[in-house]
Symmetry: C2
Subunit: 310 residues, 2 copies
């Protein structure tokens, strides 16, 4: 290990000056810093100083920022991650997700996982109803899992979860909703087909009783996520996709609090009111019909196959 | 109050796209947001997204950042402000200070206050020794308080505090050092002159047992502040100055952990070993002599006069 003397290291930028302040800070890194950490911190300091120079905060504004970050930290527990909420509501989570899931043309786009995924939901046969308490407007979701050339993928796993008609997940209403209500795992058949019954999901607020909620309020923003059904779709040899289908008629579709909506993920929810179709469905009342195909991209050659994705 | 419908507001940038993501987020602000908050958040989001796009963090790196911020928040108590340490060590505190104290040419430069200031230190006559326990290498600090035209400012208040020879403030060593050791308040005389006796200060580490200390370690940086004497100098009708004098021979002079050193604040500490000068001083042993003038800028017309500055 080579030791570089302090004097040598800092010679180029020894003292703080407003102009070039980011270089003074970055010149301080030692010679043994990992190349990736060096790259990351150089960018962090550069953009942080650029922001401060553009904002020109007063001392009180700087202190308000310190206080906000401190309160955000204090709000974090084993059960609540306020910094993730901050990242979500500032579009950073979606940006990181987008950067890490630039898919070949035509593959289903990713969106964020969210905090309500529960592993090991029940496996169901095609056509099963994942709504265990019969509450809500019935729906039928049906489609195929295909590759980017449109060829069916048999045996793909489709893991689905969603809110009930009141905008709550089962885990938020223990004792009110049955365990594993509106969750299930399906497999595509030889033609890549899947289908299941459920109910129409509803929008819901992210937790907004902390500093992030206060921030949203000050910015004139609401905390609601646009209504959606979550999916994780996996198949051997293909990149997994974590995604949503959004309902097209949700009042928050263009204003999802965490920016999860992508145009390509808005589903075709159609209300079926034709008596004949109702009778044929066996549902016995009007229902929503959703057609949705998942297009998976083949894993790049040399990719480690099928590690757990959560 | 005008209510803008969600659809109107978000129409320009309804859905998230990697390209232009910052505009999608900023377009979400409501019409009633205060202009300054709008300006600040627009810049925050712009630079934050620019940083993420340059860094292209993996999901694990993003999670490491969330974890770091969370731990930094959890380290904050009534007695420890880890986010301020983070701001200090990334040069942000000095940058905010510089932006808020762009002084007319020739005025003494500001630097950060730090956490060890204690109000209401004893008032002393000229020549008093603020070292109450007799430990350390003696020093004499002497100079004038003048305006930017070099004219003396009489009756200026010079509030001074510093570490002992071991690099500790009195408040860090309750029961070891006498209360108010190495602290005192002086007034300039009719010619703007002041002088006092003390000891040579020593470098010291900022608290480095938390996430910021870990960060410094990973960046190959040490936690030491360059040795300095703190001053707050105030006079009616002049801008107050919060500043340091740094010792020129400190091994950390070019590497102050919080970037507090400015070239103009490095003092002229000279060792006096001449027996005649020693006898004349009445100190009875070799000592350090520091000459230091403070130059204050006249308050801009219309400025609120003499509000408390701490």
């Amino acid at each position: 290990m080579t030791e570089t003397k302090p004097e040598t290291r800092a010679r180029t930028f020894p003292y703080f000056e407003e102009q070039g302040s980011e270089d003074v800070v970055n010149a301080r890194m030692g010679p043994e810093v990992s190349p990736r950490l060096r790259e990351v911190m150089t960018a962090v300091v550069k953009h942080l100083h650029a922001a401060v120079k553009e904002i020109e905060p007063t001392h009180d504004e700087w202190m308000a920022a310190i206080k906000f970050l401190t309160e955000t930290g204090h709000m974090c527990t084993d059960w609540r991650q306020e910094f993730i909420l901050l990242s979500d509501t500032l579009g950073v989570s979606m940006l990181v997700d987008s950067i890490n899931h630039r898919r070949p043309n035509g593959a289903t786009e990713n969106t964020i996982l969210g905090p309500f995924y529960v592993p090991d939901a029940p496996r169901y046969p095609h056509g099963a109803n994942i709504c265990l308490d019969g509450k809500g407007e019935p729906s039928i979701v049906r489609g195929r899992v295909v590759d980017t050339e449109g060829r069916p993928i048999a045996g793909a796993t489709i893991d689905v979860w969603q809110t009930n008609e009141d905008g709550f997940y089962d885990v938020q209403q223990k004792g009110v909703q049955p365990d594993f209500n509106l969750r299930g795992v399906f497999s595509s058949d030889a033609d890549g087909r899947y289908w299941f019954r459920s109910v129409k999901p509803r929008h819901y607020p992210i937790p907004d009783d902390g500093p992030v909620g206060k921030m949203l309020g000050a910015l004139g923003r609401h905390p609601n996520r646009a209504a959606h059904i979550h999916f994780i779709v996996t198949a051997p040899g293909f990149d997994p996709v974590i995604t949503h289908i959004f309902t097209p008629d949700c009042p928050y579709l263009t204003e999802d609090a965490v920016f999860g909506v992508k145009e390509s993920l808005i589903g075709d929810f159609r209300k079926v009111e034709d008596p004949e179709a109702i009778a044929e469905s066996g549902i016995g009342e009007p229902f929503w019909r959703v057609g949705w195909d998942f297009t998976l991209a083949r894993k790049a050659p040399g990719t480690v196959p099928d590690a757990p994705i959560i």
